[in-house]
Symmetry: C2
Subunit: 415 residues, 2 copies
């Protein structure tokens, strides 16, 4: 993989020009794209900017985000050839930080669950996960150092886990969703994929102009609460192992680690997630669903068919549960600095007819708390499995620092 | 003005066909549009739908809302000829409820403060207010029974007050902003304009599928707290009179009416509004501002120039103040059912170089609480002045019912 931090270091030191850094990403993309299929379209002649912390950084943008310079097709024939007038806010943030947008990455239709043609770089017979399939795979294949995705259920953390890359789903609305196709306004969150936690932190800090998101030179030792999310069912063997290995590594590295029980309202919120998601999707995608029914991707359409006619009162109740759960969860963070839990049930499932299961992600999206995926082990078939480090709402810097702690602890273990 | 309730009654009774109802609005629009200039573009041959509670209802849509059937030009040459692929969620809600979209109404550029060519129907030498200028004026001039606008500062309630129509800025996110050009995602709220409170309630109930928003057959007598918003400065004579007249009328009609002091954190939130609004606007309009600077409307551009470089920490602090103020405000509603306050400093100011002052509106937009404008008096020059009735977050039905109480009380007084 291409390390953003390493590129920055070499560019800052004058060892590499921003143009050469972009050229390097281009060459890597040319080498791997044919076998992985991470991009919907690419700029054949991208140019580096000369200033900004992300100069020389080639970025892939999930194809549900508006770009003035590329079509935005939402993974759906309904938007074939569609051109927005301007750039999404996050695209402009990248440009203002000096980055170069090199192309649009594949997305499941409207960031839902119908698979894209993208393959998992670690094993081509497996899904890269979704819905941000192309962004996760492009970083994992070493094509680009940074990519943007979005998460409504588990569309950032899950593909990051399946593809063995670091990723952050930041606190709700730390990154604006303006110009990003909406599925659920209460849930949709823009996230970043990069090679490691430091790389992700650098990308997020540069985009937001918040240097406090950069990793501190000395990473504090976190108090870690382990959450097994029993309300979401049991994990597969590899998922359970990943969590156990990460917990042990963190403990050996000096962290306080103990199990944490979540208030039952939090489990209720896990169930409320889908009510909120689909109720809002029926409004957000009303034009697509009502006026382009036949052209809708089949799994998404079936999901909307099933959830049709949910009463506003059920939605209001789900929103109330979510609000109470956020308060209950905030209390947990009085005892621990971060939570450590599963990123996915296990390694990427075989085949390309599913993007995997978001059941360990959706609660945290609804809670709006920052989640960072850290690769924890390599399972059978060479497939990575990650864990996620979660901090309280607004504590994105703490989530990143603790994720870095876990990342280092896991590498130490592997020696 | 055309009463939506009256149209519904006649259509339900079979006295008027939906097509004839639309034709009636078309004829009225043809008669007045030339002198008022409320529309950016119109459907020359709109057709009624045959079913739905809003069949036969001609609706105007503020031109920052996506429409598949009309261009969406945002009041700016930057979006000249721009066509979205689909319809905004609120446009689909109207269509699903049976309404007919007859055209797009004028908006200040990106719903900010640069005036549109629209004139105030009550006095052509005065502004209709902004930013939803065309929607307020089209209803006020009797062209259409219903129109949509948006409010970020005071862009629904203020033009409603200046134009003498009823309007609601509902609770934050009761109506989705999906497909509506964003200025500030924390503030932007879609609202409705109609002839009277009953008409507004019928429109909102039909759009949302929430019959509980319809007025009850017997309107309860509210406990009313009067708020003068001293932190926003003193009103003009006509504004102060409107509030006094409405308060007295409500009291005479049996309501409990007394002054309410707001916690000082609420006054702080009033100041925090502009920090949040402009910080988010710099992200939401980054493409327009950075890449189309010369084509930006001058007042908006100056506003963005001034607020450039606001530190994320200042924004975070403002968001914290807003959150604490929402809690403090919620406590006020333990003592009273609704608040009654100014909709604007006074009648619409003379001339067309300003859309008036949003200082009595912005706090309530930030608090996310439902606000309903009720016309209260006619000042010099034949210009109306309104007051706003405000309920706690989520209590849109209570806001509408209490506004109806005040509306009836005021009419009684005028006999």
């Amino acid at each position: 993989m291409i390390s953003l931090a390493e590129l920055q270091r070499r560019i800052d030191a004058g060892e590499l020009s921003p143009d050469d850094a972009i050229a390097q990403s281009l060459a890597a993309t040319s080498a791997h794209e044919k076998s992985i299929g991470a991009f919907v379209c690419r700029d054949e002649n991208p140019r580096a900017q000369s200033a900004g912390p992300l100069r020389g950084i080639a970025v892939g943008i999930k194809d549900i985000m508006d770009t003035a310079d590329f079509p935005t097709e939402m993974g759906s024939p309904i938007y074939r050839g569609y051109r927005s007038r301007g750039d999404a806010a996050v695209v402009m943030m990248l440009k203002q930080a000096g980055a170069t947008i090199v192309g649009k990455t594949t997305t499941t239709a409207f960031a839902s669950v119908d698979p894209t043609p993208t393959l998992n770089p670690h094993n081509h017979g497996h899904t890269p996960g979704g819905s941000s399939s192309g962004s996760a795979a492009a970083v994992a294949a070493g094509m680009i150092p940074l990519a943007l995705g979005t998460q409504t259920g588990g569309s950032v953390i899950r593909p990051a886990s399946f593809c063995g890359v670091a990723a952050i789903k930041p606190s709700y609305r730390l990154l604006p969703t303006v110009g990003v196709k909406c599925y659920s306004w209460t849930l949709d969150t823009v996230g970043l994929f990069a090679a490691g936690v430091d790389d992700v932190a650098r990308g997020l800090a540069a985009m937001t102009g918040r240097p406090e998101l950069l990793l501190p030179s000395s990473i504090p030792t976190p108090r870690i609460g382990i959450v097994t999310q029993d309300f979401a069912g049991a994990p597969e063997v590899s998922g359970g192992e990943a969590l156990q290995i990460a917990a042990r590594a963190a403990e050996r590295a000096g962290a306080t680690v103990h199990g944490v029980d979540l208030h039952e309202i939090v489990a209720e919120a896990w169930q409320a997630h889908s009510v909120i998601q689909e109720f809002e999707a029926h409004q957000a995608l009303a034009w697509e669903y009502r006026e382009n029914y036949d052209a809708m991707a089949p799994l998404l359409r079936a999901r909307l068919d099933e959830s049709k006619g949910t009463a506003p009162a059920a939605y209001d109740e789900a929103m109330g549960v979510a609000s109470r759960a956020r308060h209950a969860l905030a209390k947990v963070f009085e005892e621990v600095d971060v939570l450590l839990t599963l990123s996915a049930p296990g390694a990427a499932p075989q085949g390309l007819d599913s993007t995997g299961d978001a059941r360990y992600n959706r609660l945290w999206t609804l809670m709006g708390v920052p989640c960072v995926n850290v690769p924890a082990l390599i399972a059978d078939g060479g497939l990575p499995v990650g864990v996620q480090v979660i901090a309280r709402y607004g504590a994105d810097a703490e989530a990143l620092a603790a994720a870095r702690f876990v990342e280092v602890a896991l590498r130490r273990k592997w020696r």
